[in-house]
């Protein structure tokens, strides 16, 4: 980086640095692409293992790994100004506050309502208007054969 001075109204401005964009080689993009495909396959595979309650954290860890790769290499955050990283991470902190407080409120409200004996909407089950027919045999994909009327 060359020592440059920015003059504003004839006076030098301290701490001025020219931006120099980092140009990643194509091989870096291809490696990240490969890693993303492998991680996608991993998410897919993990969903077929019955991990029970661990499945959500595992799926989220893989998703966060993929997201970090995209942010660091495709969105150039790794080589970018630190201030952009700060904006991005502070957004995630606010999302965390939003999630934590709402989930905390909703999960503790149930107890309060049980104490008060209030009917809680969560336990309301919607009854279908028509009597439900027998469950379809092929219970897998959305493409399951429609039942005969």
């Amino acid at each position: 980086m060359t020592e440059t001075k920015l003059h504003l109204h004839g006076k030098p401005v301290e701490g001025f640095v020219e931006l120099h964009e980092h140009i990643s080689p194509v091989s870096t993009y291809m490696k990240v692409f490969g890693a993303l495909l492998v991680l996608t396959a991993l998410t897919y595979a993990v969903s077929y293992m019955s991990l029970g309650p661990a499945s959500l954290p595992v799926a989220m860890i893989v998703a966060v790994a993929k997201a970090s790769l995209v942010c660091m290499f495709f969105m150039h955050l790794k080589y970018d100004e630190r201030y952009h990283v700060f904006i991005f991470l502070s957004t995630l902190i606010f999302v965390g506050i939003f999630f934590t407080f709402t989930i905390f409120d909703l999960s503790s409200r149930t107890k309060l309502q049980e104490v008060q004996g209030t009917f809680f909407l969560k336990d309301f089950d919607r009854e279908p208007e028509a009597p439900p027919p027998m469950p379809v045999e092929a219970h897998g994909e959305g493409e399951a054969a429609p039942a005969e009327h």
Binding site: T4, L8, I23, S24, T43, T91, G142
Partner: protein, 230 residues
Amino acid sequence: MSTDHESPKAHRPEGAHEPHAFFAHHFNTPDQQAGAAKLGMWVFLSTEILMFSGLFLAYFIVRMFYPDMVLAAHEHLNKTAGGINTVVLITSSVTMALAVRAAQVGNTPAIKRNLLLTIMFAGVFMVVKYFEYTAKFEHGMLPGKYYTAFEHGYYIPGNPHIFFAVYFCMTGLHGIHVLVGIGVLTWVYIRASKGHFGPNYYTPVENVGLYWHLVDLIWIFLFPLLYLVR
């Protein structure tokens, strides 16, 4: 060099890049202009994340309240279509990153080629989404009062109309973002055809790229949450 305060280029320090054709007079250097645009883009992306976070929270609440229903209802989503769309979107993200790189090295044919590929993959994504949505409409798996899957021979215990409301809101808003992405990518393609971009000026390519990567980022979380998690 220049101390003439009347000239718009008066404050350009020695060693700074030469002004390009799209250099606005109120910036001192082209890099300052590019930095300001990029900062604005990141603030916009933050608001996008916050907007989607509301829907993600809705998903987690539904999941927390009705774990069995979500488990039963998500089995009716087409995992193969979702998986294909994930790969398509990741590939489009790579071609977008390569388009930005082509702009950085000043290879206009490569910018155009990679942008076209990105637009094409975005189109493939929307076509797959169209077939998925059509299947859901046909099976009556619709949000709220429009939910009529039991008339089509699908019985999902609990209240799956809530799950499908969350599903359509999340994938719908994401789909709108993909459509907007196709629009801005086309705009950047037209400008690239006019030869506007080079190593000194590629801010629109870069910022549209950032937007497109964010769309990919959101799908990276949507796919396992809606289609795969059990």
